[in-house]
C-alpha cells in the first residue's frame, strides 16, 4: 500500500478515523444548513409582510 491508499488506510485505524471526521462533518454541516435555511425563511416572511 502506498500513496493515496496507504493514507486512506490510516495505519489500520481507517474504520475509526474516517467515521469520526464524517460525524463531525454531518453534525456541524447539518446545523449550518439548518441555520441558513431558517434564516432565508425568516427573511422571506419579513419581506412579504413589509411589502403589504
Amino acid at each position: 500500500m502506498s500513496g493515496f491508499q496507504g493514507w486512506a488506510a490510516m495505519g489500520g485505524y481507517a474504520v475509526f478515523v474516517w467515521p469520526a471526521y464524517a460525524v463531525a462533518f454531518v453534525i456541524l454541516g447539518g446545523i449550518a444548513v439548518q441555520s441558513w435555511r431558517r434564516y432565508r425563511v425568516s427573511l422571506r416572511e419579513l419581506d412579504r409582510l413589509l411589502q403589504k
Binding site: Y13, V23, W36, Y39
Partner: protein, 254 residues
C-alpha cells in the same frame, strides 16, 4: 463594543456586512486545518494514525465548554438587565453548543474503542460531558415549553446559570478522579506538553470551529430578530388578516 452592539437595530445593521467575511474565514480555517490534521501532522508514536481523531474531538470539547459559558453569561445578563439581545444570543448559541458536545461525545467514543478498548465508560470526564449535553437539551426544551416566550426565556436562563457548576467539574474531572481520559495537555499551567507538530493543526482546527460558531451564532441571532419582527407585525395588523386568508375564509369574516 458590546454595549454599543447591544441594540437589536444596530446589531442587525452591523452584523450583516460582517457575515460574508466570517463565512469565508471559517471555510479557509477549516480547509487548512483539515489539511494539516489529515496530511501534515505526524502519526503519534504510541497511538499511530488514530491520533488524528484528536483534531476533530478536542476542539469540539473546547467549544462545548466555551459555548456553555457564553449561554450562561448571556443568561445572567438577560436576567439582571432584562436585555432582549442577551436572551436571543443565549437561545441562538445553545443548539450550537449541543452540536459541538455531540461531536465531542461521538468522536471520543470512536477514539476510545481502539485506544482504551471500549466505546464508553461511566467515568468522571465522559459522564460530566454527557450531563453537559443534557443540560443543553434541557435548556432548549425549557425555553420552548412555555406559551409565554418571556417566561420560557427566564426559566431557561435560571437553568443555564445553575448548570454552570458542571463546567469546573468537566475541566478538573481528569485531575480529581481516576479516569480513563488523559489529563490536560494544552491548556495547562507551565505550557502545553503536546508536540508543536500536533499543536499547530489542533489550534487551526479550533480556530475553524470558533469561526464556525461565530458565523452560525450571528445567522441564528439575525433569524430570531427577523422572526420577532414578523410576529410583532402580525400582531400589530390583525385587520389585514382577511386579505391574506383564502377567499372563502375572507367571506366568512366579512
Amino acid at each position: 463594543m458590546l454595549t454599543r452592539l447591544a441594540n437589536p437595530a444596530r446589531f442587525m445593521r452591523m452584523s450583516g456586512p460582517v457575515l460574508p467575511f466570517l463565512a469565508v474565514a471559517t471555510v479557509l480555517a477549516l480547509a487548512i486545518g483539515l489539511y494539516l490534521a489529515l496530511v501534515v501532522a505526524p502519526p503519534d508514536y504510541q497511538q499511530g494514525e488514530s491520533v488524528r481523531i484528536m483534531f476533530v474531538h478536542v476542539p469540539a470539547a473546547w467549544m462545548a465548554l466555551l459555548v456553555y459559558l457564553i449561554v450562561a453569561l448571556a443568561s445572567a445578563v438577560a436576567l439582571v438587565w432584562r436585555h432582549p439581545l442577551a436572551e436571543i444570543a443565549a437561545q441562538a448559541a445553545a443548539p450550537l453548543g449541543a452540536a459541538f458536545t455531540l461531536v465531542c461525545l461521538v468522536t471520543g467514543s470512536l477514539w476510545g474503542r481502539p485506544m482504551w478498548g471500549t466505546w464508553w465508560a461511566w467515568d468522571a470526564r465522559m459522564t460530566s460531558v454527557l450531563v453537559l449535553f443534557f443540560l443543553y437539551l434541557g435548556y432548549i426544551a425549557l425555553v420552548n415549553a412555555f406559551d409565554d416566550m418571556a417566561r420560557g426565556a427566564r426559566a431557561g436562563s435560571v437553568l443555564a446559570l445553575v448548570g454552570i457548576v458542571n463546567l469546573p467539574i468537566i475541566k478538573f474531572s481528569v485531575d480529581w478522579w481516576n479516569t480513563l481520559h488523559q489529563s490536560e495537555s494544552v491548556l495547562r499551567m507551565g505550557g502545553p506538553t503536546i508536540d508543536v507538530s500536533m499543536l499547530v493543526p489542533l489550534l487551526v482546527m479550533a480556530l475553524g470551529y470558533l469561526l464556525l460558531f461565530k458565523t452560525l451564532l450571528l445567522i441564528r441571532m439575525r433569524t430570531a430578530l427577523n422572526e420577532r419582527k414578523t410576529r410583532a407585525l402580525r400582531l400589530a395588523a390583525p385587520q389585514r388578516r382577511p386579505e391574506t386568508a383564502p377567499p372563502e375564509a375572507a367571506a366568512v369574516m366579512r
